[in-house]
C-alpha cells in the first residue's frame, strides 16, 4: 500500500532513492576546507572521553 506524504515525513530514517550515478561523488571530497577543519580539530582535541560517552 502506498504511504502518505505525512507518514513519509514522520519517518526518522528516510526512504532514500539509491542512485548509482552518485557513487562517483564518494571518490571526490566536495568540501575540502570543512574536512581540513575537522581533521585539525579532532587531531587537536580528539573525541569525547569514554567517561562522557555512553
Amino acid at each position: 500500500m502506498m504511504k502518505s506524504i505525512k507518514e513519509l515525513n514522520e519517518r526518522k530514517v528516510p526512504i532514500v532513492i539509491i542512485d548509482k550515478a552518485l557513487n562517483k561523488l564518494d571518490k571526490v571530497v566536495l568540501f575540502p576546507k570543512k574536512v581540513a577543519k575537522a581533521k585539525e580539530t579532532l587531531g587537536k582535541i580528539g573525541l569525547p572521553s569514554k567517561k562522557q560517552t555512553q
Partner: protein
C-alpha cells in the same frame, strides 16, 4: 520528526546525498557529503549548493529559497540514513563561518528534542567536547548514534 523534507537520493554507501530545493528562487540542487577523515570511524558532515555553471559546490552561499526549515529537516534525515548504515560512526560538523556555525547551533537546538533519544550530541567549547545544551555557543559539533542494547530493553 514531523517536519516536511525533500526526497533524498544517495550513492550506494549512503555517504553522498543529493536533493533539490524548490522555492521562489527556483530549483537549487544541493549536496550533502559525509567524508571519512584520518580518524577511523569519524566523518565530516557538510552540505551546500551545487553551482550549475561549474559543477562545484558552494558551502558559503545563502540561497534564500524560503525553505531553510525543510532543508535542515532534510539534512537531519540524511544523518539518520547515514547512521543507519554506519551505526558506529562519529559525525563532525562545523560552519563555514561563525555566523553559519551559529545557525547550525540554532538548528540542532530546534531538533534537539526530536533527536536526543537517538544521538549523543556534543558541542566544542575551547579544546573540549561538552554534552550539547541549548543556548551555549559552540565552535563545532559531534554526534553519534546511541547504541541500544536490546538485552537491556528486555528487562
Amino acid at each position: 520528526m514531523k517536519h516536511p523534507k525533500y526526497q533524498l537520493k544517495s550513492g550506494e554507501l549512503l555517504t553522498s546525498f543529493e536533493f533539490v530545493s524548490e522555492g521562489p528562487k527556483g530549483v537549487i540542487r544541493k549536496r550533502i557529503q559525509f567524508t571519512g577523515i584520518n580518524l577511523e570511524g569519524v566523518y565530516n558532515l557538510a552540505f551546500g549548493d551545487e553551482d550549475e555553471a561549474t559543477g562545484g559546490i558552494d558551502d558559503l552561499s545563502v540561497s534564500n529559497n524560503g525553505d531553510s526549515e525543510k532543508v535542515l529537516a532534510t539534512v537531519v534525515s540524511a544523518l539518520y540514513a547515514f547512521c543507519d548504515y554506519h551505526p558506529e560512526a562519529w559525525v563532525f560538523a562545523s560552519g563555514s563561518t561563525d555566523a553559519r556555525t551559529r545557525l547550525y547551533r540554532i538548528g540542532i537546538a530546534r531538533y534537539f528534542d526530536d533527536i536526543k533519544d537517538d544521538f549523543e550530541i556534543y558541542g566544542q567549547v575551547a579544546d573540549e567536547w561538552q554534552h550539547f545544551k541549548k543556548n551555549v555557543n559552540y565552535v563545532a559539533f559531534l554526534a553519534r548514534r546511541k547504541i541500544v542494547n536490546l538485552n537491556d530493553e528486555k528487562h
